[in-house]
C-alpha cells in the first residue's frame, strides 16, 4: 500500500471544514505570538469568524456535492446529518465569537487565547458530530470537554469561575470515565469492533438479539451522553457552571456543546444500539420527562438570569429529546430544526445578558427592572428571544415547538407531547417575568443598576460585533418561524439523505413510549377508524 493509495482511501476531503477551523486556530495562535497582544486582540476575533464562516461554506459545498461520506477508514462519517450538526456547532461558535470580544476585553484577560480554546472546543464538537468510531468519539468528546473546562475557568482570578470550572471538570471527567467504561463493554461485547456500523452486527452475532451486557453498556453510555446534553438527573453541573463561568462560554456550552451531544446521541444510539432501542427509548423518555418538569419548575425559583437560563436550557433539552425518542423522520427533522432555532434564540438571549452585564456588572433578574427606559434595543431583543424560548407565536420558537410536538403526536407519544405542552405554559411564566421586569416597571421602580446605566456607546472596541450578533439573532428569531420552509427543508433533507436514519423509519415508531402511552397509535387508529 503506497502513500497515494492510502491517502485516497482516507478520503480526507470530508474533513475539510475541520481543517479550515484547525488552520484558523493555528493562525490565531501563531499570529498572537508574532504580532503581540495589543494588536492580536483586535484582529483575532475576525480571523476566527472568517475561518468559521469559511468552514460553513465548505460544509455547504459538501452538502450540495454528494461524494463518499465515509473517511479515515470508517472513523469519520460526513453524511448529511453530520453536516447539519457541524454547521450548527460552527455557527454557534461564530456567533459566540461575535459576542465574546468585548466581554473578554473588559475582564482583562487575553482574547486570542480564549479564541484558540473556543475554536478547539468547536473542532471537538464538529468532529464529534461526525465521529463514527469509538476511539474517534472518545477523542473528540474529550477535545470538546477539556477545552470547555478551560473556558469555564478562564477568568482565573475569579473564585466563582474557578469553582465552576473545578466542578465541571470533576463531574465531566467522571461522567466521561463512566461513558468510557460503557464503551469498553461495547468493544468487548462486539468481539473487538470499534466502528459503529460494525458493532451492531457483531453484537447480534455474538450475543443474540438481546443480552444483559448490552443493556449495562447502554446505561453507562447514556449516562455519558445525558451529561453532555444536561438532561435531568445528570444536570447538576449545569446551573453552577452557567452561573460561575464567563457568559460567552455559557452561550457556547448551551448551544454548541449541547448540539454536539445530540449529534453523538443520535449516531451512537441509532447505529450501535438498535437491538435495545426499546430500552434506550424508555430511558430517554424518563430523562425527557424529568428534564422538562424539573427544568421548568426549578427555573421558576431562580433569581439569577444565568441560572434561570441554565434551567431553561435543561428544559429545552427535554423538548429536543422528544424528537430523538420518537425516532421517525419527522422526529429527527424537527429535532434538527429545533436546534437550529434554539441556536439563534438562546445565543440572542445570552448576547443580551452579556451586554447587560457589561454595562451594569450584574445579572440578577430584579436588576433588569425598568430597562425599557434606558435601552430599548436590548429590551426588545431580550424580550423577543425569551418569548421565543417560551414558544409565543409568531416567533421562531413557537414553530419549532409545534413541529416537535406535532411530530411527537403523529407517532403517538401523547404523554410526552402533553407534558411538553403543559411545561411550556409553566415556562412562559418565568420568561414573561423577565419581560415584565424590563418592560412593565415604571421609571420610579427602576433598579439601581439601571438608574446608573451608562451611555449607550457602540463605538467601544468589540461593541460592534456584539451589536451585529444581537441583531442577527433578533432577526433570525423573529423571522425563522414565519419563513421556516427553507430551514425545515434543510432539516428534512438532512434526515432523508442520511442512510443511518432511514432504517429508523422501518422500526416501529414510539416503541419506547408505547410503554407509557397505551394504547399505541396502531390500536388507537383502528378504534378511531371503526
Amino acid at each position: 500500500m503506497d502513500f497515494a493509495n492510502l491517502a485516497a482511501q482516507l478520503n480526507t476531503g470530508v474533513i475539510l471544514p475541520e481543517g479550515i477551523v484547525l488552520v484558523t486556530l493555528m493562525v490565531v495562535l501563531v499570529g498572537d505570538l508574532i504580532t503581540g497582544r495589543a494588536s492580536s486582540s483586535r484582529w483575532s476575533p475576525y480571523v476566527g469568524i472568517a475561518g468559521l464562516l469559511a468552514a460553513i461554506v465548505a460544509l455547504y459545498f459538501q452538502w450540495t456535492t454528494t461524494t463518499n461520506p465515509i473517511s479515515f477508514l470508517g472513523a469519520f462519517n460526513g453524511d448529511a446529518l453530520s453536516i447539519v450538526f457541524r454547521g450548527i456547532v460552527a455557527l454557534s461558535c461564530a456567533i459566540t465569537l461575535l459576542i465574546t470580544a468585548r466581554y473578554v476585553e473588559q475582564s482583562g484577560t487575553a482574547l486570542p487565547e480564549f479564541i484558540v480554546i473556543l475554536l478547539t472546543a468547536t473542532l471537538g464538537g464538529m468532529f464529534l458530530s461526525g465521529a463514527n468510531e469509538l476511539v474517534m468519539i472518545f477523542v473528540s468528546l474529550e477535545t470538546l470537554s477539556i477545552s470547555s473546562y478551560l473556558l469555564t475557568g478562564y477568568m482565573k482570578r475569579d473564585p466563582r469561575s474557578n469553582e465552576a470550572s473545578l466542578k465541571y471538570l470533576l463531574i465531566g471527567a467522571a461522567s466521561s470515565a463512566i461513558f468510557l467504561y460503557g464503551v469498553s463493554l461495547v468493544y468487548g461485547l462486539s468481539g473487538g469492533e470499534t466502528r459503529l456500523s460494525a458493532i451492531t452486527t457483531s453484537i447480534v452475532a455474538n450475543n443474540g438479539e438481546q443480552s444483559l451486557g448490552v443493556v449495562v453498556a447502554l446505561v453507562f453510555v447514556i449516562a455519558g451522553i445525558a451529561f453532555k446534553i444536561a438532561a435531568v438527573p445528570f444536570h447538576q453541573w449545569t446551573p453552577d457552571v452557567y452561573e460561575g463561568s464567563p457568559t460567552p462560554v455559557v452561550a457556547f456550552l448551551s448551544v454548541g456543546s449541547k448540539a454536539a451531544g445530540f449529534a453523538l446521541a443520535v449516531r451512537l444510539l441509532v447505529s450501535a444500539f438498535p437491538m435495545v432501542s426499546e430500552q434506550w427509548r424508555f430511558v430517554l423518555t424518563a430523562l425527557a420527562i424529568l428534564s422538562m418538569v424539573l427544568g421548568n419548575v426549578v427555573a421558576l425559583a431562580q433569581t439569577s438570569m444565568k441560572r434561570m437560563l441554565a434551567y431553561s436550557s435543561i428544559a429545552q433539552a427535554g423538548f429536543v429529546m422528544i424528537g430523538l425518542i420518537i425516532g421517525t423522520d419527522a422526529g429527527y427533522a424537527s429535532m434538527v430544526f429545533y436546534l437550529l432555532v434554539y441556536l439563534f434564540m438562546n445565543l440572542g438571549g445570552f448576547a443580551c445578558v452579556i451586554l447587560f452585564t457589561l454595562r451594569t456588572g450584574t445579572d440578577e433578574i430584579t436588576e433588569y427592572s425598568g430597562l425599557y427606559q434606558k435601552d430599548p434595543l436590548l429590551t426588545l431583543c431580550l424580550s423577543i428571544c425569551l418569548l421565543s424560548l417560551g414558544g409565543i407565536p409568531p416567533l421562531a420558537g413557537f414553530f419549532a415547538k409545534i413541529y416537535l410536538f406535532w411530530a411527537g403526536w403523529q407517532s403517538g407519544a401523547y404523554t410526552l407531547v402533553l407534558l411538553g405542552l403543559v411545561t411550556s405554559v409553566i415556562s412562559i411564566y418565568y420568561y414573561i417575568r423577565v419581560v415584565k421586569m424590563m418592560v412593565v416597571k415604571e421609571p420610579e421602580e427602576m433598579s439601581d443598576a439601571v438608574k446608573n446605566y451608562p451611555e449607550i456607546d457602540w463605538k467601544l472596541p468589540g461593541m460592534r460585533p456584539l451589536q451585529v450578533g444581537l441583531v442577527v439573532c433578533l432577526v433570525a428569531t423573529s423571522l425563522a418561524g414565519i419563513l421556516s420552509n427553507p430551514l425545515f427543508t434543510l432539516a428534512n433533507n438532512s434526515v432523508l439523505r442520511t442512510p443511518l436514519l432511514t432504517p429508523a423509519t422501518i422500526a416501529p415508531p414510539a416503541s419506547g413510549t408505547a410503554l407509557l402511552d397505551q394504547p399505541s397509535i396502531h390500536s388507537s387508529n383502528s378504534t378511531l377508524g371503526g
Partner: protein, 564 residues
C-alpha cells in the same frame, strides 16, 4: 381583502414603533387613523358581503408551511362577519377612549393595534393552526397592556390572565392535534378536517378539551376567576376590548370548532353545556350583587351574560344560534358601553366604590350625561324592550326553551338578577344627594362622551331594528344549525307566535319563514353534493309527512354535519 384586516393594524403598529421622534406626539392621531382605515375597510367588506351565501366569502389561500399542514387560509362567513364589524368598531373606540396623555403612548398604541389585528386574524382564520396562532398572538399584547397601564394589582391580574389563557391554548392545541392526526391527510385546513366522519367517542374525546379550553376564555364558571381580576386591573380601553371581542373568541371558537366539527358529540354534551351555562349565569349574577366595585359588577355581569351564549349554542337550532350571534353582538356593545362609563366615572371621581359614590346624576355638578347613559346601559343589559339586550335574550330564550326548559327558566332568573345588581349600582352611584367630596368634578370632555354615545346609539338602534345585526348571519346559521325533528316542530309553532310578539322585528319574521321552508336542508349539507341526493330531493323532504322526517333523522352521521 381579508388580509388587510390583519396586516393594516400590524403594519401600522410597526410604523408607529419606527416613528421618528418628531412625530411621536402625533402617535394617537396616527393610531386613530389606522383604526379608522380598518373600520372603513370593514364597512366596505360588509357592504360587499353577500348575505345570501351560507359558506365562506372573500376567501384567501396561500401555502405557508406545508410540512406542518399550516396554510394561510382566510375566509369570512355570517358567523364571523358581525364579530369582525364589532372588533373594528371597538378597536377604534378603545383607541379613541384612551387617555390622550397616556404614559408611553408609542408602546400602548402598538400593542392595541397588534391586539386588534390578531383578534381579526383569529376570526377569519380557516386553518386550525392559523387560528391557534392568532389566538396565542393576542396574549402578549393584552398581557402587557394590563401589566403596564393597569391598576394596583395589575401584575397579579395580568399574569393570571396569561397563565389561564395559555392553558386554554394548550387544551385547544391538543384537540386540534388529535383531530388532524385522525384525518389521515395530517391537514389542519378547516374544510378538510370538517369533512371527516368520526365516531362519537372520538368526537367526545376531542370536544371536551376544546370545550374546556374555550370555556376558560369565555369564561365559564369555574374557570372564570381570571376575568374579574383582569377587568378590574385593566385600563378602560383594554376592558372594552377584553369584554367586547376577546371573550367572543371563546364563544366563536366553541361554535366554529366545537359545534362545527363535532356535531354529534355536541348534542351529547349539550345538556351539560346548558347546566354550565346556568351555573355561569347564576354564579355571575349573584357574585355581581355581592360586589362593591363598579367594575367588578360589570365584570361579573359579563360572566353571567356569556352564559346565555353558551345556553343558546348548546341547543344549536337555527333560532338559538341566531340568539348566540345576537347575544354576542349585544354583549359586545353593552359591556363595552358599561366599561366605558365606569371608566369615565373612575377617571373623574377617582373611585369605583359604590359605597362611596352618591348622586352623580346631579345635573349641576355631577355627571348627568354619563349617568343617563349608564341607566340606558343597565336597562339594555337587564333586557328592557327596545334595546339590543332584549332582542338578544329573547331570541336566546325562545331558542333554548323547547330543548332545555328548566335550564332556560333558571337563566331567566339571571336576567332578573341583572336588573337587581344594576339597580343597586345606579341607585347608589347616581341617585341621591351628591356629597361635597364629589362636587366640582373635572369637566367631561367630548373625548369621554363620544365613544359612549356611539355605542348607546347602536344599542338602541339595533334594539329597534335587530335585522340590521342579524342579516349577516341568517343564512349561515340556517346552514349551521342542527335540529332534531321533534324539536323543530315546537320551534315552528312557537316561532310563529314569536313573530307576533316581536312585531316589527323583520329578521325574526324572516327567520321564522326560513325555518318553515328549509327545515331539513339545514340538517343535510347543501353545499357538498356528495352527501345529498341533490337539492331538490332535500327540499322535497320538507313536504313529506312528519313520520318520514323522523326516519330521516336517523341518517348517517355525515349527513348531520352542519355546513359553516
Amino acid at each position: 381583502m381579508l388580509s388587510a384586516l390583519i396586516w393594516v393594524p400590524v403594519l401600522g403598529a410597526v410604523f408607529i414603533a419606527l416613528l421618528p421622534e418628531s412625530l411621536v406626539a402625533r402617535t394617537r392621531q396616527i393610531a386613530l387613523a389606522i383604526a379608522s382605515a380598518v373600520g372603513i375597510w370593514t364597512i366596505i367588506l360588509a357592504s360587499q358581503f353577500d348575505v345570501g351565501i351560507p359558506g365562506l366569502q372573500f376567501q384567501e389561500s396561500l401555502p405557508w408551511i406545508e410540512s406542518l399542514g399550516l396554510t394561510y387560509q382566510l375566509g369570512i362567513d355570517g358567523l364571523s362577519m358581525p364579530l369582525i364589524l364589532i372588533n373594528s368598531l371597538l378597536v377604534w373606540i378603545a383607541i379613541y377612549a384612551s387617555d390622550p396623555n397616556i404614559n408611553r403612548p408609542r408602546l400602548y398604541y402598538v400593542l392595541m393595534l397588534v391586539l386588534g389585528g390578531a383578534v381579526a386574524g383569529a376570526f377569519v382564520a380557516q386553518n386550525l393552526l392559523l387560528f391557534f396562532l392568532f389566538y396565542e398572538v393576542e396574549l402578549i399584547p393584552l398581557y402587557l397592556v394590563i401589566a403596564i397601564w393597569g391598576g394596583a394589582r395589575r401584575g397579579y391580574a395580568a399574569t393570571k390572565f396569561l397563565i389561564y389563557t395559555a392553558a386554554s391554548g394548550v387544551l385547544i392545541l391538543a384537540a386540534f392535534f388529535g383531530l388532524a392526526i385522525i384525518s389521515e391527510t395530517n391537514s389542519f385546513d378547516y374544510d378538510v378536517v370538517q369533512s371527516q366522519v368520526l365516531p362519537l367517542t372520538t368526537q367526545l374525546l376531542l370536544l371536551i378539551p376544546l370545550v374546556v379550553g374555550f370555556g376558560i376564555k369565555i369564561p365559564v364558571v369555574p374557570f372564570h376567576t381570571w376575568l374579574p381580576d383582569a377587568h378590574v386591573e385593566a385600563p378602560t380601553p383594554a376592558s372594552v376590548l377584553l369584554a367586547g371581542v376577546l371573550l367572543k373568541l371563546g364563544t366563536y371558537g366553541l361554535l366554529r370548532f366545537g359545534l362545527g366539527l363535532f356535531p354529534e358529540a355536541w348534542t351529547e354534551i349539550a345538556p351539560w353545556l346548558a347546566w354550565i351555562a346556568v351555573l355561569s349565569v347564576l354564579y355571575g349574577s349573584f357574585a355581581a350583587i355581592a360586589q362593591t366595585d363598579m367594575k367588578k359588577i360589570v365584570a361579573y355581569s359579563s360572566v353571567g351574560h356569556m352564559g346565555y351564549i353558551i345556553l343558546a349554542s348548546a341547543v344549536a337550532t337555527p333560532l338559538s344560534l341566531t340568539g348566540t350571534v345576537a347575544q354576542m353582538i349585544s354583549h359586545g356593545l353593552i359591556s363595552a358601553l358599561l366599561f366605558l362609563l365606569v371608566g369615565v366615572v373612575y377617571s373623574k371621581t377617582g373611585t369605583r366604590d359604590i359605597n362611596v359614590l352618591r348622586g352623580l346624576l346631579n345635573p349641576e355638578r355631577g355627571l348627568p350625561l354619563i349617568g343617563s347613559l349608564m341607566v340606558v346601559g343597565a336597562m339594555a343589559s337587564a333586557g328592557i324592550p327596545g334595546m339590543v339586550g332584549f332582542v338578544a335574550e329573547f331570541i336566546v330564550y325562545r331558542g333554548s326553551l323547547p330543548a332545555f326548559p328548566l335550564q332556560t327558566l333558571l337563566c331567566m332568573v339571571g336576567t332578573g338578577l341583572t336588573a337587581v345588581y344594576f339597580l343597586i349600582l345606579i341607585n347608589r352611584v347616581f341617585f341621591g344627594r351628591l356629597p361635597e367630596s364629589l362636587a366640582n368634578l373635572p369637566r367631561i370632555r367630548w373625548q369621554d362622551r363620544l365613544p359612549s354615545i356611539i355605542v348607546t346609539v347602536l344599542v338602541i338602534v339595533l334594539g329597534i331594528q335587530p335585522s340590521w345585526m342579524l342579516r349577516w348571519s341568517n343564512v349561515t346559521i340556517q346552514a349551521m344549525g342542527m335540529e332534531e325533528v321533534n324539536r323543530l316542530v315546537q320551534v315552528e309553532s312557537e316561532s310563529t307566535r314569536l313573530a307576533e310578539t316581536v312585531g316589527d322585528s323583520e329578521s325574526v319574521r324572516r327567520l321564522v319563514e326560513s325555518t318553515e321552508t328549509v327545515p331539513l336542508t339545514s340538517m343535510t349539507n347543501p353545499n357538498s353534493i356528495a352527501f345529498t341526493p341533490g337539492k331538490e330531493a332535500a327540499s322535497d323532504k320538507s313536504t313529506e309527512p312528519l313520520g318520514d322526517r323522523l326516519i330521516d333523522n336517523s341518517l348517517p352521521h355525515s349527513k348531520l354535519k352542519p355546513n359553516i
